[in-house]
Symmetry: C2
Subunit: 342 residues, 2 copies
């Protein structure tokens, strides 16, 4: 007897089937503190103590936002959750729940999906959030790529949302969280290395300062966003939405982000790259940037990195008074941040 | 002078760039009645009068859930919205907002994305809902396929959610909306035809009975779900979750779903198919199925199609007392509904 083709590997998504997949993934979803109805019905039901819900969606595509040979399934779950949870924090809200849409090839090992579910749950758990629903389907015929679309919900706790449009002349610009670590880790991985581990780990699993978002809102932040595409690009969105100029202070940024003997300095020296380029244009660490009225006592974890100049029709970002584009080019960057359809 | 490769076609996603795409898509998003913050910030903010939010995600993959040569961009937007809005209705809730995650090739014409946005908005508008946020990214390198992940939010209006688990012995089983039309339209398209148009149109743009969901909840429905995978499969989920047997009445189903001289009868006769197979196993019309205590006056649009038998450890679905699997096989169906990783 001959076989026309080899048997399927054990425990693929195809073998386990849709409801097997759901059961295995749900078993790892954790429990959301505010979920009244979790996975398994037509929809989830999540309580919204504030009377409003914050909602955001981020899509991660294999080969663009992650690689299965560079990141474990758990890493990818952590990263997909973090990208969305940081958006919720950037509104000044606390995340309450995730919904996950996943397209994967039918020969995906079920253990890989379980790993993603575990990573998602672990990233949410400290916030009291969990995956409350979603949909898992087969990738397009002929496509080997995983697409992960995560929606996060959050609660504002009675505070107004902190938008990108509220920065005012005279405000200070402040930062919470790390910048440049993920981009540095990516540079390491691209060259085929896997150390320093701190940088590579930061690329695999960002550590957004979730609590800093609601704390900034409570302290009176006038504008806020998360840094997903790069500091210059994302502060550019705040500048544009607010119709102001943000002037960042290179020395303060260095103090905040470039630890002597830290991984950015080490890798920069080894690769002949000024690590400031990662700090200014690297995304995916999901730091938070906010503006506060001058004199506001900043909450823990926030450091001043610049000021808001008087409103200007040519809204934009400066670094020590120089246009962001010029600074980025001088550092060898292709632009001020990530291009999504390059 | 020679060119190494031809210029890009005008107005692709790559040429317009991420923010051009967002601007063009947002211009078509419509306005959600309950949105406090719409697209353009880190997250949307939607008011939740009930104090809870209903949330559900459905993923549509090109080549599995739609084909760009069979459906227009507007059709695909309508269909993606409908799949999610029906899940919200199946909880007894009214949809308030959508978030859309979209992965598409960089050479996708921007006009196609605008069409999807228009379809999404048109499907939402009668409900007072709209797209309030999302993310558009490039497909995986080498992949030509569009993946559309839609999340719908909804409000329960003070009513308890209607779960799949509440069906009780003695309840009647009732149906709102159409069954089998989408499957019939798909059978037509698969054979290379495009008429009867009513069936093909139903496949391209389902017409879920959104208002019937909250109406059923208000009337005291004990369990409810939408029919996305096929009546036998989806009532099977209610039977299993409730630990009961649902016995469907073939004659009542025929009366409810098979109009003499209607497209299902016409196409069935032409193709030599018993149209009952589409009614019992065809998905994607997003009809609603609910159980009500016997004697409940049913709201407009609902018709009785069966009864709930006494609780049974072997929970399942019968048609005129015969097991669903047997009935489906006798009609020539491969199973009781759609297999997601076949």
């Amino acid at each position: 007897m001959t076989r026309a083709r080899p048997p399927l590997p054990a425990d693929t998504v195809r073998e386990v089937g849709e409801f097997g997949v759901i059961a295995r993934v749900v078993a790892r979803a954790g429990a959301a503190r505010l979920a009244e109805v979790g996975p398994g019905d037509d929809a989830a039901v999540v309580t919204t103590p504030d009377g409003r819900v914050v909602a955001t969606t981020d899509v991660l595509v294999e080969g663009r936002h992650f690689r299965r040979d560079w990141s474990s399934a758990e890493d990818i779950g952590h990263k997909a959750a973090a990208a969305n949870l940081a958006d919720v924090a950037a509104m000044g809200a606390r995340a309450t729940a995730l919904l996950v849409g996943l397209a994967c090839p039918s020969d995906t090992p079920i253990g890989w999906l379980e790993g993603v579910a575990t990573g998602l749950a672990e990233e949410c758990a400290p916030l009291g959030a969990a995956v409350v629903g979603g949909d898992t389907v087969a990738s397009a015929p002929g496509s080997d790529a995983v697409v992960l679309s995560v929606t996060a919900l959050g609660d504002l706790g009675g505070r107004p949302p902190v938008l990108r449009s509220g920065a005012r002349a005279g405000d200070v610009v402040a930062l919470a969280g790390r910048l440049g670590w993920s981009a540095c880790g990516l540079a390491v991985l691209r060259r085929g290395f896997s150390s320093p581990l701190a940088a590579v780990a930061a690329h695999r699993r960002p550590s957004p300062p979730y609590a800093a978002g609601p704390a900034a809102a409570a302290a009176g932040a006038t504008a806020m966003c998360d840094v997903s595409d790069g500091l210059l690009a994302d502060t550019g969105h705040v500048a544009e939405a607010s119709g102001v100029v943000l002037d960042l202070d290179r020395a303060a940024l260095g103090d905040a982000c470039l630890v002597p003997e830290g991984p950015l300095q080490q890798v920069g020296a080894a690769l002949g790259v000024d690590p400031l380029v990662w700090v200014l244009t690297g995304g995916e660490d999901h730091a938070l940037v906010a503006t506060f009225p001058a004199g506001t006592p900043l909450p823990a974890g926030w450091r001043v990195i610049g000021v808001v100049r008087s409103a200007d029709p040519a809204a934009g970002v400066l670094v020590d008074g120089e246009p962001a584009e010029t600074v980025a080019r001088a550092l060898g960057a292709e632009g001020t941040g990530h291009a999504h359809f390059g």
